[in-house]
């Protein structure tokens, strides 16, 4: 079953079994945002603490499948300690990796993808471990699993930038 082996890479199962940055942060100073995948019940709560323009700390709780949990875990390591610009750039890059397929399948379905187009892409980032999630695009229903934590992060960042501009 080559397809399945492509999906369940070693590194994904590792992040699933040993999620990084698991836990909570005190609110305040942290901000918490919860994301749901209404269709399957996955849910994630993300605690985000900024220090000026930098992601000072990030922690996660919640439950879900190997894809949503490993994606969240990898996401947390990818953005922790990074500048907001780098975090946004990583989000864009990850979503681009996922959304190629999403669009081909489902037209204009997902409105939250809007902003990824013409944003300035000057910050260079590498996806690192996250590349392992590339296999997900062959399993379109699982894309929503992979993007859940990312959409939650976007919401948290948007909220924080709206309260402290």
């Amino acid at each position: 079953m080559p397809g399945l082996e492509d999906l369940y890479r070693e590194i994904i199962l590792d992040h699933y079994r040993n999620p990084r940055n698991r836990g909570e942060l005190p609110i305040p100073p942290a901000y918490a945002e919860t994301g749901f995948n209404p269709l399957c019940g996955d849910e994630i709560t993300l605690y985000l603490q900024l220090d000026g323009d930098c992601v000072d700390d990030i922690k996660l709780t919640g439950q879900g499948c190997s894809i949503s949990q490993s994606s969240a875990s990898m996401m947390s390591t990818a953005v922790k300690g990074k500048s907001l610009a780098e975090a946004r750039a990583t989000i864009r890059k990850f979503k681009a990796m996922m959304s190629i397929h999403e669009q081909r399948l489902d037209g204009a379905e997902d409105g939250s993808e809007d902003d990824s187009g013409d944003a300035e892409d000057e910050v260079e980032v590498s996806l690192g471990d996250l590349e392992a999630l590339q296999g997900v695009v062959k399993f379109p229903v699982r894309i929503k699993c992979a993007t859940l934590s990312w959409n939650t992060l976007v919401q948290a960042l948007d909220h924080l930038s709206s309260v402290q501009p």
């Binding site: 209404p38 269709l39 399957c40 849910e43 489902d106 037209g107 204009a108 379905e109 229903v141």
Partner: protein, 408 residues
């Protein structure tokens, strides 16, 4: 592209049928259209190869079913010029679409004394939901009157719109055929601060539809009148409106989270789609929309306008006593001709025509207030679709002679 009725008739299996030994001459498309093989087979094939519940399964056929269902939504969205598929909510028919607006938007925006403007030519589906709200909340209903020519009387438009919160108007009358100047009304309504709900049941099957060009805020359509299956309709509304509206029906699909003490609704459009949606019906409606698009809506319109002009002329030439309601200029009307003939009641007319295989509808056409305005209890109504041709009109005209004989 001009329509070749010989070819098109072949696509509609029911038209091979005989009634009382006569070929079926179906002239009741305004009530419900027939379905081409492409639509019937799309649904059969869906059930035979792909069915599963949507938005739920990880497995292959569930994913395929979800893709087909959402592709149906995308087809409808493109067909009516929506900006995004998230603006298209599937309902069971246009009646539910209008009720959704009345329950969700209406009950969160309209209170005692608030004004909703309708027209005297509305279908009951765009009257009763507002009459119910009037009974429940004491909203005020005002009506744009109908002229003796069967047009909307817009002479007091601004006055009638003054203070209105919503204008509900049919794009095309299902009785008179009148094509209403929606854009003009919408502009005036917006200037007066009112939202515009367009009942597109008789527009979408027959004329190119562009919800934004119409200036609509809400737009409803119904599958079974546009070559699609029964059991499906759609509400289009601007995304901001849908986003701000509370849910209507509660249940599966429309939630983000449910706890024993409360729930959080899903994103649009699913927020308004409670329970298992009309999946096979969305597949069928998509095939219908593809069928209409392949012909081209301008060609459909030209064909039906010519047929209507021919019918108006032939009927009036042969039966000078026939009273035809609505505008006599075919360019002002869709392919719907309501008439009364001497003292022969429409039911009797319809019964007599049926004996010749000709199907016309008799009754109030779910527009009782308009019947009162026309001063009749009922009319007979012949209405056209892509599959009708001049021979169908001739069959109608000839069959009317039987009424003359029987009721002489």
């Amino acid at each position: 592209m001009a329509i070749d009725p010989v070819l098109i008739k072949k696509d509609f299996p029911i038209l091979d049928r005989l009634v009382h030994g006569k070929r079926l001459v179906y002239l009741d498309s305004a009530s419900s259209s027939q379905k081409p093989t492409a639509v019937i087979e799309a649904m059969s094939q869906y059930y035979e190869t792909t069915h599963a519940n949507v938005h739920r399964g990880v497995y292959t056929i569930a994913e395929e079913a979800t893709r087909l269902f959402e592709a149906g939504r995308a087809s409808v969205a493109r067909f009516i010029g929506a900006s995004s598929t998230s603006e298209v909510v599937f309902t069971k028919n246009v009646t539910e679409a209008i009720n959704l607006v009345a329950y969700s938007w209406g009950r969160s925006n309209l209170n005692a004394g608030d004004v909703v403007v309708l027209t005297e030519m509305e279908h009951h589906s765009n009257l009763v939901p507002w009459l119910a709200l009037k009974a429940e909340r004491g909203i005020e209903l005002r009506y744009l009157p109908v002229t003796d020519d069967g047009l909307l009387d817009l002479s007091n438009l601004d006055e009638i719109l003054d203070g209105a919160k919503l204008v509900g108007v049919t794009a095309v009358s299902n009785v008179l055929g009148t094509i209403n100047p929606i854009r003009l009304i919408a502009d005036a309504a917006h200037a007066a601060g009112a939202m515009v709900l367009v009942d597109g049941a008789q527009l979408a099957p027959h004329l190119p539809t562009d919800v934004k060009a119409l200036g609509a805020d809400f737009f409803g359509l119904t599958g079974h009148k546009m070559l699609g299956p029964t059991g499906i309709g759609a509400l289009w509304a601007r995304a901001e409106l849908l986003d701000a509206m509370p849910p209507f029906l509660g249940g599966g699909e429309m939630i983000r989270d449910v706890r024993l003490d409360g729930f959080t609704p899903n994103d649009i459009p699913w927020k308004f789609e409670a329970g298992t949606p009309p999946i096979a019906e969305a597949v069928g409606l998509s095939a219908a929309v593809d069928y209409l698009t392949a012909i081209g809506l301008p060609a459909v319109r030209d064909h039906e306008r010519e047929l209507t002009a021919y019918a108006l002329t032939t009927l009036r030439d042969r039966y000078p006593d026939l009273v035809i309601h609505g505008p006599l200029d075919a360019s002002l009307r869709g392919g719907v001709i309501s008439f009364n003939y001497k003292d022969v009641h429409p039911h009797d007319l319809s019964q007599v025509l049926d004996e010749s295989g000709v199907c016309v509808r008799a009754g109030h056409h779910c527009a009782k207030p308009l019947m009162r305005r026309l001063g009749v209890g009922a009319t007979a109504r012949a209405s056209f679709s892509v599959y009708n041709d001049g021979a169908d009109v001739d069959a109608l005209v000839d069959a009317l002679a039987t009424a003359d004989r029987l009721f002489a």
